[in-house]
């Protein structure tokens, strides 16, 4: 008989090492008497279990607790996964998430620096909470769906992307984002956005340039067409997304630069009760002309590239939780503060009270840095 055929499985050896009673235990024990390799495996398993049990636990920081309580008092909410969510294929949602990160600017963390924001956020949370409750009673939050009435105007704005090191406070410029809103024929608007001077591609799929153009119609900002060109895109020279909107559907094509690969886009958007943001370019102006008030809530979905089934819409829950005065390179503005939930994450976004233009988004990155997209320059006839 060939000896290695008698080796117990690794699972049986691990169970043996843990002392689990099972039918094969005596057979494993007999095997171990004559197999040094399996003895070493069991010995390592036991030593590791013992060493792992002695690993020290980090001391929790009171700052985390205080920040969480302050955020709760400010109206922040997180839906915890108390039930098991089926695992998703990891690659497919990347495009939507990447856009989500850049876009709506919904990508902000609960971490609070107070560096550019002045207001009642950090200092008067209890009053703020009372204010939200009172406002909600006076004017029920908008959670019922239905069309929002947007009011665009011609403008050209530039946002600065930068990273802030939370330990040193050092700010590193990481790119600029230009957005142009121009009237088109038949009461339509063309929104064109371009990223330039990108210095850190880690959160942008490796892109050096990212351009997007979308045409929307009427006060509902109903999209009619959208084009995205990202270059490079991950391991490809570039990717080109062409979407057209017909009735309740989006159709089009994905193409790769310098590669013959093509994939069709055809998704049914009917039955999607949520409002949706059709493009990264729409995000900064999405609330222009929309009446906002403390406690107002919106369910908004961000349209992905729609090439694969789970990259169609990502839902965000947005709530106005307060007002702050925001200092930006383009000026100082009174703003509404949104708390935005995207999955388990909570972010912050500020829009200007006077016209609803996005002014600042903030997100804490997993590496400890904070990323901001802040209004840098504005040219328009306000």
């Amino acid at each position: 008989m060939i000896p290695f055929l008698l080796h117990p499985s690794r699972q049986q050896l691990v169970a043996f090492a843990a002392g689990n009673e099972c039918a094969s235990r005596s057979r494993v024990a007999r095997h171990l008497e004559r197999c040094s390799e399996c003895r070493r495996f069991v010995g390592f398993t036991r030593r590791f279990a013992k060493a792992a049990a002695l690993l020290s636990a980090p001391a929790p920081s009171e700052e985390v607790l205080l920040r969480a309580l302050a955020d709760r008092a400010a109206g922040a909410r997180v839906i915890l996964p108390t039930t098991i969510e089926p695992a998703r294929e990891p690659l497919r949602g990347r495009a939507t998430r990447a856009v989500a990160l850049i876009v709506v600017g919904a990508i902000l963390s609960v971490w609070w620096s107070g560096r550019r924001v002045r207001g009642d956020f950090a200092s008067a949370n209890e009053l703020l909470l009372a204010g939200i409750v009172g406002s909600a009673q006076a004017a029920p939050p908008d959670r019922a769906g239905g069309a929002l009435m947007h009011r665009l105007r011609a403008l050209e704005v530039t946002y600065q992307r930068w990273f802030i090191d939370s330990a040193t406070g050092r700010t590193i410029d990481a790119g600029k984002y230009d957005l142009r809103v121009a009237p088109a024929e038949s009461r339509m608007w063309t929104l064109t956005s371009t990223w330039r001077e990108i210095e850190d591609q880690n959160d942008m799929q490796g892109a050096r340039s990212w351009a997007e153009s979308v045409t929307v119609a009427g006060s509902g900002l109903a999209p009619t067409s959208r084009v995205v060109h990202v270059k490079p895109y991950r391991r490809w020279a570039g990717i080109y997304i062409n979407q057209r909107f017909r009735n309740d559907s989006v159709v089009g094509q994905m193409a790769l630069d310098e590669d013959p690969t093509r994939r069709p886009i055809a998704r049914d958007l009917s039955g999607q009760r949520e409002r949706f943001v059709a493009s990264e370019a729409v995000a900064p102006v999405y609330f222009m002309g929309v009446p906002l008030f403390l406690g107002a809530e919106f369910d908004v979905s961000l349209l992905g590239w729609a090439v694969v089934p789970n990259d169609v819409l990502v839902t965000m829950r947005m709530k106005v939780t307060g007002s702050d005065r925001i200092e930006t390179p383009a000026g100082t503005f009174d703003c509404w503060r949104f708390v935005i939930r995207v999955g388990p994450e909570t972010h912050y976004h500020w829009v200007r009270k006077s016209d609803g233009l996005g002014v600042l988004t903030r997100r804490r990155m997993s590496d400890g840095r904070t990323r901001e997209l802040i209004l840098f320059r504005e040219e328009s006839n306000r």
Binding site: F44, A49, A51, L55, A57, E85, P344, E345
Partner: protein, 182 residues
């Protein structure tokens, strides 16, 4: 090996549960002070990041009052909290567009340095971070947090067999990295 479900863990007054559901800050503080140490350690090992772990802990406190409405008071709060934290960490890892991994060369250097100063704990932490998230979750829950395979299966939404298989694969990988140190 102890069980996460039966191990009572730190003392916590069960009468606080209704107050947590109401969002009482004092009750949330009590939860935090009773469980945050081991929950932070669990989250840190699952995510491989101190910052992510703190974010998970933060979100847990923010969302706890609403989530507690589904909590069965007959169960063990500590085990329930751990399950929630594990799922939060896995969701966070799934959402990450790229995994933060230490390069093999860097890991070799760190492991060697850890060994040279006799800090085996550091070497273990590094080796754990090198595992894939799916395998790391099982290894951490089993060896560091004392979950049974049934509890791991329930928490991760996998079968008991899958839990056992992942654990053995994890041990094989860890042995390659750590046998000379442990």
């Amino acid at each position: 090996m102890r069980s996460a479900a039966t191990d009572s863990g730190p003392s916590f007054d069960p009468d606080l549960v209704p107050r947590i559901r109401r969002g009482d800050p004092t009750a949330l503080m009590a939860v935090y002070r009773a469980f945050s140490g081991e929950l932070l350690a669990l989250a840190r090992r699952l995510t491989g990041s101190e910052a992510d772990a703190e974010d998970v802990l933060h979100d847990l406190i923010v969302g706890l009052p609403d989530a507690m409405r589904t909590y069965d008071e007959r169960g063990k709060l500590r085990a329930w909290l751990k399950q929630v934290v594990v799922r939060m960490c896995l969701m966070r890892l799934r959402a990450a567009r790229r995994r933060r991994e230490i390069g093999l060369d860097a890991a070799d250097q760190l492991a060697a340095r850890a060994a040279s100063v006799g800090d085996f704990n550091e070497a273990i932490e590094i080796a754990l971070r090198e595992l894939s998230p799916a395998i790391r979750a099982v290894v951490v829950l089993r060896f560091l947090d004392g979950f049974s395979h049934r509890e791991i299966a329930d928490t991760l939404g996998i079968s008991i067999n899958a839990s056992e298989a992942r654990l053995s694969r994890g041990i094989v990988a860890l042995r390659r990295r750590l046998e000379t140190l442990i």
